[in-house]
Amino acid sequence: MSHATIRLPDHQIELLSAGYRRELAQRRRMALVGFVILMLAVLLSGFVAEVRPGVLFENIGKFTSYFGRIFYLDTGALVFTDIGEWFWGFWKWGKQLIDTLLIAYLGTLFGAIFAFLICFSAAINLTPQAGIRFAARRYLEFCRTVPEIVFALIFVVAFGLGPVPGVLAIMIHTIGALGKLFAEVVENIDMKPVEGIVASGGTRWQSIRYGVLPQVLPNFASYALLRFEINVRGASVMGFVGAGGIGQDLIEAIRKFYYSDVSAILLMIIATVMVIDIATERLRHRLITMEQGR
């Protein structure tokens, strides 16, 4: 058999592959160092977080049996055999789910409105004054970094139990999350139309309304829809701290071992989140194609 490829003399191959090996060895050394650092971090944090794999392996059966158990009714029958008994609280939970959706809706709406009002002050192309921009950005960062459930805990004390603190908590977190995204969108616009309106004597808000908004509105709407979906999930646990929605009944069911209720409520939450997910995805898709189509 003859080869078309010319085989280099052995010493030349040796030379070339030595270079290749050297480079490889260097990369390997770097990877090794990285790996050792990673392992040290794992060990350290495993110690701090009291990771006990033994406990997990001993009790992993509990996890699966937990999932087994939540699909059995008190009578010992499988939940699917008596849907009426399984979802005995369907209307009650349904109402709480609607409340949950409304909490998410109001939190997203008001959060988006405030994020809209603030985002222009955080964008360098519309706010050259460093002081204002710094303040706006730090404020958004604060709203974003403190988890919404922490705000909910504080607001429950201030505003009393119920959905009101839940809405306010989600709103504050949404201001931070959307404000940052909005500001990034604004920083990427074409400034020429804005300049044209400013040069005609337009005010700041007039140039935002007509120069910026047409460019950013589809993106803003898309991000707000995405946020709504996230907020529905967030609102589902607001009840854990007494801030309204389905979470109240869920934590009670989990804590008091009402097994079949846990699965029923979880399924209702998952189904709702999925429907919202698909619906917002569709809407976002429509927004994007509409934008490109025109």
Binding site: N59, D99, L106, V146, V150, L153, I154, V157, V167, L266
Partner: protein, 285 residues
């Protein structure tokens, strides 16, 4: 001086000739106002159903004002050591949870990627599986894991891990699907198997993206890890909830500041690492 002049002497006649333009697009106007009316109606309805009232908002804001006053100056009291330890625990929980989730999601991501998993049923089931996991909040997972391994940070690690498996599987599979097909075609064309194509055609291309996305989540997981303590799954959240319930506002403020500083630090570290490993800023949206 320029004499006063009328630039548009025949505007009445011209506008009379173009009644359609003068009227504007009725349809767009009606749709716009209908949309606004719908949103407003829904908002008013929600506000009344969720029992919002000015009185309640007003008195709540006054309360909040007093709390804010009591928060200054922030102080840990005699619990600085406790808080610091809990915060370290929080970071450890986030780190381990993210790492475990990343390792477990790596194969799942391939199973859920349309261009790798040609078996539609498996691909679809994997997608739905990760969607279901994502539908359940981290706090709920924490409660469930507490039933298995008992109260404490280990349950927190597992909770973060579980809820991140949902997110990572989706993100990873999307990254894998958007990878350039030419390298794997090249591997196939030299006679490689489809596993070879994955190993040499896809993994080198997606690995930096996956790492970058994972690092990005490390920061947001630190935030999640601060709250799972509220239900007893370890970390600073337990103390935070405790201090809020007992109205120790200066400590609440101190803990929040500690959390803010830590998250900022981790954000800094993870973006430096991203930069070093990937060479550029890629932020998943």
């Amino acid at each position: 001086m320029i004499p006063p002049r009328d630039l548009f002497p025949d505007r009445a006649a011209v506008s009379a000739r173009h009644p359609a333009i003068m009227a504007g697009s009725r349809r767009a106007q009606i749709i716009g106002w209908a949309l606004v009316a719908l949103l407003v109606a829904l908002t008013v309805l929600s506000l009344s159903r969720l029992e919002f009232s000015f009185a309640r908002l007003g008195s709540g804001l006054v309360q909040l004002g007093t709390f804010l006053g009591l928060m200054i100056p922030p102080s840990p009291g005699a619990q600085l050591a406790t808080f610091s330890k809990a915060l370290a625990e929080t970071v450890a929980i986030a780190f381990l949870g993210t790492l475990l989730a990343a390792i477990l999601s790596f194969p799942i991501g391939f199973l859920a990627a349309r261009n790798v998993m040609t078996n539609r049923v498996v691909q679809f089931m994997t997608r739905r599986f990760s969607d279901s996991i994502r539908g359940v909040d981290t706090l709920i997972w924490a409660l469930i894991w507490i039933n298995v391994v008992g109260l404490g940070p280990f349950a927190g690690v597992l909770a973060i891990m579980t809820s991140d498996i949902g997110s990572f599987s989706k993100l990873y599979s999307e990254a894998i699907e958007s990878v350039d097909r030419k390298p794997s075609e090249g591997v196939i064309s030299t006679g490689g198997s489809s596993l070879h194509a994955v190993r040499f055609g896809i993994i080198p291309a997606v690995l930096p993206v996956l790492i970058s996305q994972t690092l990005y989540y490390f920061e947001s997981n630190t935030r999640s890890a601060t709250i799972i303590g509220i239900v007893g799954a370890g970390g600073i959240g337990l103390h935070l909830a405790e201090m809020i319930r007992t109205f120790e506002w200066d400590r609440v403020a101190f803990i929040i500041l500690m959390v803010l500083a830590t998250v900022a630090l981790i954000d800094f570290v993870s973006s430096r690492l991203r930069l070093a490993l990937v060479g550029q800023r890629t932020t998943p949206v």
